[in-house]
Amino acid sequence: MKDFLQQIIYGINAGSIYALIALGYTMVYGIVKLINFAHGDILMMGAYFGLLAITVLGLPFPLAIVIAMLVCAAFGMIINKVAYKPLRNAPRISALITALGISMFLENYFVVQFGLEVRKMPEIAWLKGEVFIGGLSIPKVTFLIVGLSIACMIALQFIVRKTKVGKAMRAVSEDMQAAKLMGINVDKTISITFALGSALGGLGGVLYSVAYYQVEPYMGILPGLKAFVAAVLGGIGIIPGAMFGGFVMGIIENLTKGFISSSWSNAILFGILILVLLFKPSGIFGKNTREKV
């Protein structure tokens, strides 16, 4: 029982990061019906920017997080503008291929810039060590990761449900043309969506590198894919679904690692994707309407 709870805690830790990243996939899909396969690389960039802010600029960790989020937001908007916006009326497969192209470009660009070496995120003194609660050991960093992730998700829900720009995002995602007829600037709204999703991805990247210490150009691929599965599991385009899916993925992954075998965990996670696509393609939170991607 204790082992089980311990794995659940690790799972919530990983899951909150997956949830942050899954939000980026789901928000962008919700508004432009595009799987932004470059989103995993936003995570990687967030980790690098966070690392550089700490090691090169010598900034404190909280400021590094803010910088990574801002820079990633800007990159998200740029990627939308140069790669996706010109293809808005093109067949979906073109945008999908472009997304993969952008992803490869970013990875290789970072290889050229920073090399393949795995860099270590410096340890942050006040995050070292563990807290023991009822015989369970909880890394201090887990409190930070889970706390920040949940705070961001609540903030995002507030933005989407209550603010003018959030309502515009929902209107555009339902009916782009009708939104224009309301006087909504659709391009600007889409751009803001990319910015928000990418900022969360950037935060996910910093937190991921803090949790697992390493930063390298291909680090975004696997968590990116898992977060994508999380988004599909919850119902792509549905924000609470992405959060839920993220936590489920993290928990299943760690239970597998703890009780079956580490080498099986990815197979099981991606097996979930296949099962969801076969039996409930619209995801747990989704209504069953078939969407071709």
């Binding site: 515009a168 209107a171 043309q177 009708a178 007829l181 006087g183």
Partner: protein, 233 residues
């Protein structure tokens, strides 16, 4: 107020509008009538800036708007009630109305406007919290009209507001259109219900496959033999 000058509109290779001109003056109700596929919706989309004409231009308040983005045209004072209502189904009635007021610069207090639309459409008031997608077709049509009014348009375009509604509701909708017009909003009305439209309009244009085949004062068209045969049954 609104002037459309010899526009040609294409969808890829399909030549949908083959040189159409018309104008709508301050205070008028002008109606465009025509059979399915005549190009009525295409014209409204072009006027609203959703599609660009290949040649010709559109002027609003003596300013050319053919190259202005759709959302900015709304800010200039033109709103549209689109064909098929197009309310935001997953948003509440209240939120739909807020979207209607999106372009307004006078932020914050829309109470007077809510009072105005709820007075016209009392049924919306008790349903403020309801999701638009769960309302009946007639209620959704009312919401679409109320939503467009929230931008305080100087000119309102309406695309078949009576489509699919029961006769009683059709009468109600046409009464409301007249009320809106009397309160000072100019109206361009697209209709298949030619009889009703010609009864409330001051002038009309009859469209056939992308061209205007007849135009004139609405009461004259009501008596026109050709119109009677083709559109009034």
């Amino acid at each position: 107020m609104l002037k459309v000058n010899d526009i040609q509109v294409y969808y890829g290779a399909i030549h949908a509008i083959k040189g159409i001109s018309f104008e709508v003056n301050q205070g008028e109700i002008v109606t465009l009538i025509g059979a399915n596929g005549a190009g009525k919706t295409t014209i409204l989309h072009t006027v609203s800036g959703l599609i660009k004409p290949k040649t010709g231009n559109v002027q609003l308040f003596d300013k050319e708007i053919s190259n202005i983005e759709a959302h900015k045209i709304v800010e200039m004072g033109m709103a549209q009630v689109p064909e098929g209502r197009r309310v935001f189904a997953k948003m509440s009635v209240q939120e739909n109305l807020e979207m209607g007021a999106f372009s307004r610069k006078d932020k914050g207090n829309f109470d007077a406007d809510y009072d105005m639309v709820f007075e016209k459409f009392p049924r919306l008031k008790e349903r403020r919290k309801q999701l638009a997608g769960t309302m009946s077709g007639g209620e959704q049509q009312m919401l679409a009209m109320a939503r467009a009014l929230m931008s305080r348009p100087k000119i309102l375009l309406m695309d078949e507001p009576s489509m699919g509604l029961a006769p009683i509701l059709v009468d109600e909708i046409f009464n409301i259109i007249q009320e809106i017009n009397k309160a000072g909003t100019t109206i361009l009305l697209v209709e298949q219900n030619a009889h009703k439209a010609l009864t409330i309009a001051s002038r009309a244009y009859v469209l056939e496959t992308g061209t205007v085949v007849l135009s004139g004062p609405a009461n004259e068209l009501l008596d026109n033999d050709e119109v009677k045969r083709a559109y009034l049954g």
